[in-house]
Symmetry: C2
Amino acid sequence: MRFEMSDIDHKRQLMSKHRKPPTMADIARITGVSPMTVSRAFKADSLINKETREAILQAAEDLGYVFDSTASNLRSQKSDFVAVTIPSINNANFADTVGGLSETLATRRMQILLGYTNYDMQEEERLIEQLLRRKPQAIVVTGGKHTDRARRLLENAPIPVIETWDIPAKPIGYYIGFSNAAAVREMVDHFVKVGYRRIAFIGGDVGRDTRGSDRRLGFVEAMKTHGLDSSRLIAAGPPPISMREGANAMARLLQEFPDTEAVICVSDLSAFGALTECQRRHIAVPSRIAIGGFGDYEIGSISVPTLTTINARSRDIGQRTGQLILDILDDRPDTDHVLIKPELIVRESSK
Amino acid sequence: MRFEMSDIDHKRQLMSKHRKPPTMADIARITGVSPMTVSRAFKADSLINKETREAILQAAEDLGYVFDSTASNLRSQKSDFVAVTIPSINNANFADTVGGLSETLATRRMQILLGYTNYDMQEEERLIEQLLRRKPQAIVVTGGKHTDRARRLLENAPIPVIETWDIPAKPIGYYIGFSNAAAVREMVDHFVKVGYRRIAFIGGDVGRDTRGSDRRLGFVEAMKTHGLDSSRLIAAGPPPISMREGANAMARLLQEFPDTEAVICVSDLSAFGALTECQRRHIAVPSRIAIGGFGDYEIGSISVPTLTTINARSRDIGQRTGQLILDILDDRPDTDHVLIKPELIVRESSK
DNA sequence: ATGAAAGCGCTAACAG
DNA sequence: CTGTTAGCGCTTTCAT
């Protein structure tokens, strides 16, 4: 009895914050095998005696052993994770992409190492360098525009590089995305078809949000194609564009171009903000002014009225990216890019 | 000229995906110094000749050298990051906490390694193990309830453990949070004071969302204290609770308890969903039924009407957590916990 | 201001 | 099925 007590005390001491954590060598000593056997016991597939493994795993659990990925990665010269950069931590679209990617990679026991650029290319550069230092198996970046140095870092990286959510002007490696301009063009085409003529666009004015700028560009091109006035452009400032900024932009739109019949917003969040501004002014949507958004966020499916929008298939982007990475690592990629087809969803906020 | 070309070709070859990436030893060879000097050149504070450093950094840039954190961390037995678990990647409150934490840690050049539990304790356990394997400097978890094994892993971890967003029943190490129950009690008190009596609660029915359950508990307690009926409880299912689920819950509430005067929702998102259900049914808010939310999400400040809510000071939680970690690492923590005081914000959706 | 030697914890490669 | 040896790329420690 006394012996057991002291044994427990010993274990507690071993596991305390002040002692060095146990290593495989410690487990090896206790179980009377070599460190290599301990290493094998932790790999699912390796040939090892069933009882030996069980004893080792038991000893590990008793000791409070935690596997050291750092040492493992260094020795085997490969890691078990993929680095990912997204603009914002709080965006349902990017969250869906990361979710789809994560679930696909999980089938191969790979993790995601995530970083946020805050829509800033300088920050993206810093982040890419940080992430590459940790030796990921692949790196996924959101967008196709980067600082010169970031581009160089990616080009020189000894791993696959995948750009997403854009069709890069000059792809670095692989890419999976769609044309933001073409998606908005489709919405403009629809708006024109159902009879709107005086159409405005909110957002996309700041170059650093390349996807937003692209959407705005698509608007301008489409309006010109239809021979319509493409100058009803309202700035909304740098991303992320809040609901509040959407509301403010709508207030300016109503002042500058009071006869506007429809407005396309750079995202559903700004579109909802714009809608609330109309509600506060008792301006009927869509009868007096129609509203379109982008991204198919939940709010657009539940607001009153619901919002016409574009579903960019964010989750698909992530899943396809994950599958591409697995194919590349298996050395059998079919292709170096995947084009995604966004879908126009017409709801109550427009004809 | 020809020489320059071949030089460039050589560099390209060195940097290609098929060659082994350069190491400090390569830089050392090229610049004619020892690897140790190269190592010093990358540390900001180390004593090293200015020109030597410049030559080394230049050579590194030319070679496309990327510092290997894995090797560095292994040798120095410490990393430069803090592990963090949050329930969801797409939640403005947790995003703010991570933002505050990230910005505080950045002052000491520390990074965040983030993982998502998807509101699942089993998933949290897996995640905690994964994160600990990478040897973070500290680990921050959201919430104070964990699986037995997760708790053991945290207790045995040789690093500081900080639980956030809750006041844990049995703290593992440090904690920074608030009482979700007390925050809701304050809202109930306010509602009773301004005259509401038949008050309902939406959400918090599933045990796995401990913060939601706590809020519901606070509601029940407060109603009992006031001698009011605390049985108007509407389930909303497992987290994350969507706007849609809030709307569905409101529909059930109106059916089951049609004379309800006010409803408190587990979050602003479900509160907004509930609001839209009222709008679809032309039920006036707040004159016919008042609505309260939780979390002070942007939508509650811009919806029509704006939503009464509770600001949990998510960003503060992150900043205080970051500061505590820095203090612990400097070996001078003032305290082992910080209590945050949420703030009731009364807006248009209630008296 | 710089270098030499050793080793962090794990596993590749080979041997038995 | 298990063990031995060596070494991943860096930095600690001790010299000079």
